[in-house]
């Protein structure tokens, strides 16, 4: 109940943030721009629209999660409103989870609007609803949820600028980790390989949520990967939220 109240208030606060609308505007502009870009191609125009649209959704979704998530806890501390909140009979984990779910709700609505524009544009070209695109959009949302947890973790102990840099690095590392997997395959057995394998197990693999290419090319996706990718996203987010709660509980507010 308390988490829901905080989440609802976070949502009300987040939708008043101008940066959200600025990003939404740019995302919509990019999606619509894909139509113009498609005119330049020789061949399949819909492929260009789908690629640009899904990339816009993913990129602007990630930016929204990072830019808003990093300021979430910090703003409360900076404006000293945290004292009022924590003086109430609520646990710190309830406060954090409320903030998290409030932002997730905001991001869900933003992704919904962006997806609506995108799917309408695709529909105007193909005259059919491309349900497969919803798979890619769903996994973009899972990735955004994970990034929000990352941003929140950093927001608990750092300034928004540093948190944004850390979260962005997490995002980039997450999309590069498959390179490490390739390196492991080429390494000779030994300590170096074991250490690299351990490192690979810990660093995030955000490519698990990247189904953009498969969806655009109408490729079959193994059913197990759907489930395991969602579970991976949920457990990684829970792990990050757990870390965030640990950090937040240890913090002193003077």
């Amino acid at each position: 109940m308390k988490i829901r109240a905080i989440a609802f208030n976070t949502f009300k606060e987040a939708i008043r943030d101008r940066i959200l609308y600025l990003l939404l505007f740019f995302a919509a502009a990019c999606i619509i721009f894909s139509r113009l870009l498609a005119l330049l191609t020789v061949g399949d125009r819909v492929k260009i629209i789908m690629d640009v649209g899904l990339a816009s959704l993913s990129l602007f979704g990630a930016m929204m999660a990072i830019l808003m998530g990093t300021g979430l806890v910090y703003k409360e501390i900076d404006k000293k409103t945290i004292y009022t909140l924590l003086s109430k009979p609520i646990h710190r984990y309830q406060f954090l989870l409320g903030k998290y779910f409030g932002l997730i709700l905001t991001l869900f609505i933003m992704l919904f609007f962006m997806s609506f524009i995108f799917l309408t544009l695709v529909f105007l070209h193909t005259f059919r609803i491309e349900w497969e695109l919803l798979i890619a959009i769903f996994y973009i949302f899972v990735e955004v949820c994970l990034l929000t947890a990352v941003a929140m973790l950093f927001s608990c102990f750092s300034t928004p600028i540093l948190s944004s840099i850390f979260s962005l690095s997490f995002y980039l590392i997450g999309h590069l980790s498959w390179g490490l997997e390739n390196s492991i395959d080429k390494m000779k057995p030994g300590i170096a390989k074991t250490l690299t394998q351990i490192l690979y197990a810990f660093i995030p693999d955000l490519e698990n949520f990247n189904f953009k290419t498969e969806v655009v090319h109408h490729l079959p996706i193994p059913s197990e990967i759907f489930l395991f990718s969602v579970l991976y996203g949920i457990f990684y987010s829970l792990f990050l939220l757990f870390l965030a709660i640990l950090v937040f509980r240890k913090r002193d507010f003077i």
């Binding site: 870009l37 191609t41 690629d51 953009k212 090319h217």
Partner: protein, 261 residues
């Protein structure tokens, strides 16, 4: 505003096609895309279309293979760039080998796409008149599921041009038997007529050659070949008609043109 207009009017030296140097190998570029490799492939492809439309870049074909290999590396399932790359290589760069290389790459990365060997076969046939190569590509295309019926017809035609009459006859026969379209049946029938005539005329010619060696003249009519024991019997065309023979020139041909049957 005025300053901007002023600056725009100043002409600056540009090196045509200099942007090409910024494209690294696709293998490494993929690392830098952070999950947006498909989008980057689109953008490079769009850029390449503009680049190859710019005739001021004299040596633009030097990097053709590189550019299209980068796109293939970034999104190997993107089919348009292979086709357009090959088209540019053949018709603009006049480099058939490069066109075939790009199409081969497309097939290697997308083994279920019949369009690549079909186009490669067409290019080999049209640009180089290399029917052996064309036959090889058409055969590859035929073996891929979903290949259109025309592939088999092109294969049969290339076999005929190669004077591989046995393969040509068998393939046209198969087309004749399996097609349900009357138009295709007619085409196949005409080709069967043509292939049979080619086989028969070749046999008759060989017999005439031998007749000439023995008698030092052309036979008066074709029945002399049978009488001389050079042929078991006189072959007839697919419609059961005799072949037309000119004793003065030694020329043998069908009485009807295959396409006017």
């Amino acid at each position: 505003m005025g300053l901007k207009v002023k600056i725009d009017k100043i002409s600056r030296k540009k090196i045509p096609g200099s942007s090409i140097i910024y494209i690294p190998s696709g293998k490494y570029l993929k690392f830098a895309t952070f999950g947006y490799s498909s989008l980057l492939a689109d953008l490079i492809y769009l850029w390449s279309i503009q680049y190859y439309s710019d005739y001021s870049v004299v040596d633009r074909f030097k990097y053709l293979d590189h550019i299209f290999s980068v796109i293939a590396e970034l999104d190997h399932r993107y089919l348009d760039p292979y086709q357009i790359g090959a088209l540019i290589a053949l018709y603009e760069a006049r480099d058939l080998d490069l066109a075939l290389k790009i199409l081969d790459r497309g097939l290697e990365k997308n083994p279920n796409q019949w369009i690549f060997p079909l186009e490669a076969g067409h290019y080999a046939q049209m640009a180089k008149k290399d029917y052996k190569l064309a036959q090889k590509y058409y055969k590859k295309a035929m073996e891929i599921k979903g290949a259109p019926p025309i592939t088999k017809r092109l294969y049969a035609n290339a076999s005929f041009k190669l004077t591989d009459y046995k393969t040509a006859f068998e393939t046209w026969q198969e087309i004749y038997k399996t097609t349900e379209e009357e138009r295709i049946k007619k085409i196949a029938s005409n080709h069967l007529f043509q292939v049979k005539a080619a086989i028969d005329i070749k046999t008759i010619f060989e017999a005439i050659e031998k007749f000439r060696e023995i008698y030092d003249r052309n036979p008066v009519d074709l029945s002399q070949l049978v009488k001389a024991g050079l042929l078991d019997s006189l072959p007839k065309d697919l419609d059961g008609q005799d072949y037309h023979y000119d004793s003065k020139t030694g020329e043998v041909k069908t009485q009807t043109i295959p396409w006017k049957r």
